[in-house]
Amino acid sequence: MSESNGATPVLSVRDLHVWFDLSEGRELHAVQGIDLDLLPGERLGLVGESGCGKTTSILAVMGLLPSSAAVAGQVMLNGTDIMAGGEDTVSPHRWKDIAMVFQGAMNAFNPVKRIGEQIAEPMRLHDVASGKEARKQVGELLELVGISANRQDRFPHEFSGGMRQRAAIAMALACNPKVLLADEPTTALDVMVQAQILDLLVSLTNELGLAMILVTHDLPVVAQVCKRAAVMYAGKIVEQGATDTLFHEPRHPYTRMLFQATPDLYGDDAVLSIPGAPPRLDRVLTGCPFAPRCDSAFHPCLLEAPEEREVGEAHVASCHRNDPAHAAEAAAVVV
């Protein structure tokens, strides 16, 4: 894996925050300072439960949040902060350098326009191609995702769910981006079709050198597709590292408990639910946001939020149990 070999990330997110305006002057702090680095050709998983801020984070990177959202932080694309100037600096890169496959994208096609026309739209928008040239490129894109080129004149309803999802990926690739943000690209697809789509995403990243952030709630999908993953909880990344390390040596109880809550085909261990629910993010939280649900919380967890610490090579976690100052106390809490 490439993290430590000094390659320059194609995308770097630093201290990203998102606040949503609620009624009566209240605010919801949906994303609370996340850092991500994505290397060229890398596949990074972003996992967590619904409401943890994973989709909001990548929408912020794309500059696609509604006006009720306030965003702070840096989104560096090849070293340039594309968020510095708001829409003016983001829009030249959107679809061209960073593209996204939306959740339920297969159902987001305009039903009265031909698939090919819809895929060509970002090409026209960014003056990549138009007319005959666009048609030719659309055909190539469809072939790339496993649909024959002559089907570009079909309407969305003539495609199955799996084919529409392939077409949505083709649309994201229309302007030959360097970064693909895929939000739950296989949720709601059957397991065999999911396998086909994941296989496609893996081969696209391998062959085109495309870097991808795969957003999903499905840990096994991340374990299969991504070498590295970030686990989000309550708007923060609580642990980040190699997927193999996250499974075998998690350093945040949430990561461990998420894996324990996921049934495995060959797993014989009991599947355990995580009690309680994630905290509301429209209030100021004291202590670790996961403490009320944690099976190994101890005294400091209720008092102060844990700092992110390096716990191994390219492995960070935010848990008081990793703090040497609390080691003795933590050891007394046996899981």
Binding site: D190, H217, M257
Partner: protein, 335 residues
């Protein structure tokens, strides 16, 4: 696991066939186009014993939900027998079915849609009692409601009784739906994708609840597309493809020693939690064929990696292949 070959089955389905006519329209009728039918379920046999959980697994369109709905008599079957406690309920009138329905309850996939938003939890759980005229008086019924809520894990029950669905989380809503089924004290539950709409962290809780009910003697038929869940919680798994059960047997056997090429492929593409356990997925191309045009011979042969010429002619029946464990049946002439 509590599978006991000796106990009389609660539910026995023999040769079940359910077909839906495809409307031809006026033009089609005048032109005497052939009458087409969707062969949703095409000869399915299985049993569910008390204290046993059987999982019907397959991709969308394989007929698993139609099977469940036919068993519940929500959809009329074309052929076959549905025996509940030895009684053929397939031909019963609505009036005759009423007491049977009390015994056999169904839980649906989406707890956001299956609960009436204007009903308090108490009223939702009370309604089945009123419909079936159960309970001596209001007080008795109230007690039954609270008891059902408690069995469904909503404790303390009086805390939840006065709430509306919008005040509950997804997992709690599904528990309310389960309580509304349990309040009739059924002997059999049909759970149609009971956790697919829920967050990972709460899925395990609902599945453990069903597991506990099974241990308490309920027969459970679970419909799911998730093989990992089936492997973990069901005693037996029946894999469906295009209206047929193609493989059926003890969960461990089906998952660890699959014998049908379709099951083998399905199992190979299920992502595993442990990145080290990932195997080379055996991805089938294409999608499940249209159930109006079922291929001749073995219905899986067009997608089968090992199909031979004779597979296009022989329609394989479920049988125990040589060397298979007892009760492990496969519909493949090459198995």
């Amino acid at each position: 696991m509590s599978t006991e070959g000796t106990s009389a089955p609660l539910l026995e389905v023999k040769g079940l066939v359910t077909r839906y006519p495809v409307p031809r329209g006026i033009v089609g009728t005048v032109a005497r186009r052939p009458k087409l039918e969707v062969h949703a379920v095409e000869g399915v046999d299985f049993t569910v014993a008390p204290g046993e959980m059987v999982a019907l697994v397959g991709e969308s369109g394989c007929g698993k939900t139609t099977t469940a709905q036919t068993v519940m008599r929500m959809v009329d079957h074309t052929e076959g027998e549905i025996l509940f406690r030895g009684q053929d309920i397939g031909e019963m009138s609505a009036g005759q079915l009423q007491p049977i329905r009390r015994q056999m309850q169904i839980i649906f996939q989406d707890p956001y849609e299956s609960l009436d938003p204007r009903f308090r939890v108490h009223d939702t759980v009370m309604e089945p009692l009123l419909i079936h005229g159960i309970g001596d008086n209001g007080k008795d019924r109230d007690e039954r409601v609270l008891h059902a809520l408690e069995r469904a894990g909503l404790t303390p029950p009086d805390l939840f009784a006065d709430r509306f669905p919008h005040e509950l989380s997804g997992g709690q809503r599904q528990r309310v739906a389960i309580a509304a089924a349990l309040v009739l004290e059924p002997s059999m539950l049909i759970a149609d994708e009971p956790v697919s709409m829920l967050d990972v962290s709460v899925r395990a809780g609902i599945l453990s609840l069903l597991d506990g009910l099974r241990r308490g003697g309920l027969g459970i038929l679970m419909i799911t597309h998730d093989l990992s869940t089936a492997a973990h919680f069901a005693d037996r798994i029946a894999v469906m493809y295009l209206g047929r059960i193609v493989e059926e047997g003890p969960s461990r056997e089906v998952v660890r020693n699959p014998r049908h090429p379709y099951t083998k492929a399905l199992i190979s593409v299920v992502p595993k939690r442990d990145p080290r356990m990932q195997v080379e997925p055996q991805i089938l191309t294409g999608e499940t064929p249209n159930p109006t045009l079922v291929p001749p011979g073995c219905r899986f042969h067009p997608r089968c990696p090992i199909a031979e010429a004779r597979c296009t002619q022989t329609d394989p029946q479920l049988r125990e292949p040589d060397g298979a464990d007892e009760g492990h049946r496969v519909a493949c002439i090459l198995a």
